[in-house]
Symmetry: C2
Subunit: 351 residues, 2 copies
DNA sequence: CTGAAAGCGCTTACAG
DNA sequence: CTGAAAGCGCTTACAG
């Protein structure tokens, strides 16, 4: 089928802006019908005569016609687009969840537009503002903290679903997360069962997830009568943070025999700190992460961690948001999911 | 400053679609001027009286006005949006490059919309079609193969910059990549210098990058007079592929003492295969990856690999594409970048 | 079954 | 300096 080549036009600055895309008008002219009919036929409206429809479809195909999403959005008052805020592309959790989010959104015929978190709060907020200019119909946020401004005007602009951290009392926002406190408890239980008593926690700072995991650690230690052994070293959700926190913990006079680190990525850093100290994992020091990422499962690492159903969380988030946008009646709210301990090869009885 | 709350309206399906966003009209009414003037003032046009401008800006702020990107794109004939095609979110290379791409695009005031590659070729093509409906002004593709349809109508719809694999002869498409063949040569040189002769390659299948790395391996082996030791096992760019390929290589009657694996992710899989065989890395078998990802550098892994300037590649790709869209005169074309060997702890002399 | 008209929210000449 | 009008590419009543 021969495709007519649209004439190249000049762009705003005199450069070649490439071929001017054909419009509904061009299709109408080629098919010898009105614009309205083209629009109808393209939407598969039933009231178009079969022959006419065929002619229109053929003309559209020959011209390589593609609907202009902007024009459509303008009149439809819908964009079928959701924003996805990703705090940290490097966190291995991100790929798993994002994959699931995208797949589910695609399945429901929604487009996603991804914005990445930034150290610069203003830049981050500005990116989010662009999302509201785009008129995304909802936003999915992914990470251990909310993006900058999510609790203000940007937050109110559309419904949100947050994955990975729990937030309450913010209207239009629901969250899907595992019970971080419980997960931390699982870790302590496991280590205590192995015989550890000096269990230190390398934490993730001030975000809500870090807080919950820290609290879970503290409570579990107390539950086991180990309140005197509670040690919290400041870390972060990155490899570097884990390294630094673990290093400090190991330099103590009475160093821990086990390290519970705030997430998998930081736990990798902690493992490096142990090795640098001339110690072996798990013979000398056990290390446990959190998140249950693919990375943790990689054999040369084989990190013991707290598993979360990351794929389901991503799928569920997209399903809830898109479902809501499509007017489905959603019952209940996604409660906190139960975490599970994934025992691998970085934990063993203390020396 | 009190923000007037816009009235909620009903969505297309009777659900609450949230507050109706104020338009330029609402701002005009509140400021007591015409729409045109609002538009002008919002664009910082010089010919608006200072007082009027201030009143307009105040009104806009009070109403929480945000320009409608669709309406703007429709009349501006520009979207200031580029598409980013990401083959594999799980490849650790992706995060590095994507981060740089996004940062540079943002710096130049371009939005990005990410689409993820799929096993389903039709789905992948459909996603790309959506990009043209969105009228993205250009596309950056990231991975070891082009997306489905990039050489057809979708490819011709706008300029492309491909990162990571080299392609020639496709109009409107330029690529930024390292010299894969040379990189592979570096690996073989390094291993030969250590004393290895039985060096096997676990490849990445049929993509262009896989081909170049394979060819580089073969040539270098020949150069060292090791043509008889050439062994290529079929693998892939994923952990699983590396595991399977390495496993097969190690089962040979005369197993290799070194494994050159197509990329870092697959090399991690290969390391697991070595361990499963009851052998140690690097004492019994050396393992080398390719890409120079952050993952490879993580201490518990410390994978010897071929480094590429991933951040620069991402930045350069975005700079070239956006620069071109902004009508900058670009001189030359981004040639292939030189790779470098990053020696870490997975290589040693043969036993 | 088909077409002319109005309008989505903006911008841009064109008058004044 | 400011406003009325036309138009971007589409969809949707409304007539016929």
């Amino acid at each position: 089928m021969a495709r007519a080549t649209p004439v190249p036009v000049d762009g705003p600055d005199g450069t070649d802006a490439g071929p001017a895309r054909p419009t509904i008008r061009d299709v109408a002219a080629r098919a010898g019908v009105s614009k309205s009919l083209v629009s109808l036929a393209l939407q598969n409206a039933p009231r178009v005569a079969p022959g006419t429809r065929a002619a229109i479809l053929a003309a559209a195909d020959e011209l390589g016609y593609r609907r202009n999403a902007a024009a459509h959005a303008l009149v439809a008052h819908r964009t079928r687009t959701v924003g996805v805020f990703v705090l940290d592309l490097h966190n291995p959790m991100t790929a798993d969840v994002l994959d699931a989010v995208q797949a589910e959104a695609r399945r429901r015929d929604y487009r996603t537009i991804v914005v990445v978190g930034s150290d610069d709060a203003d830049a981050e907020r500005a990116e989010l503002e662009k999302l509201v200019e785009f008129r995304v119909e909802g936003i999915i946020a992914l990470g251990h903290r909310l993006p900058e401004g999510a609790d203000g005007a940007i937050g109110a602009a559309c419904p949100w679903v947050v994955i990975g951290s729990a937030h309450e009392g913010i209207p239009h926002l629901e969250s899907i997360s595992t019970d971080d406190e419980e997960g931390a408890g699982l870790v302590v239980d496991h280590l205590v069962t192995l015989g550890h008593r000096r269990i230190a926690h390398v934490d993730g700072g001030r975000s809500s997830v870090a807080r919950d995991r820290r609290r879970g650690y503290r409570r579990a230690m107390r539950r086991h009568g180990l309140q005197d052994a509670v040690t919290v070293e400041r870390g972060s959700f990155s490899e570097e943070g884990g390294y630094a926190g673990a290093r400090r913990a190991l330099e103590a006079a009475d160093p821990p025999t086990a390290l519970f680190v705030v997430n998998d990525l930081a736990a990798i850093g902690a493992m490096a700190a142990v090795t640098d100290r001339g110690l072996a994992v798990p013979q000398d020091v056990s290390v446990v992460g959190f998140d249950g990422t693919r990375l943790a499962g990689m054999r040369p690492l084989s990190l013991t961690t707290v598993g979360q159903p990351l794929l389901q969380m991503g799928t569920q988030a997209a399903a809830r948001l898109c479902g809501r946008l499509d007017g489905e009646r959603l019952v209940g709210s996604p409660s906190r999911l139960p975490p599970s301990l994934v025992e691998r090869r970085t934990t063993a009885p203390p020396p």
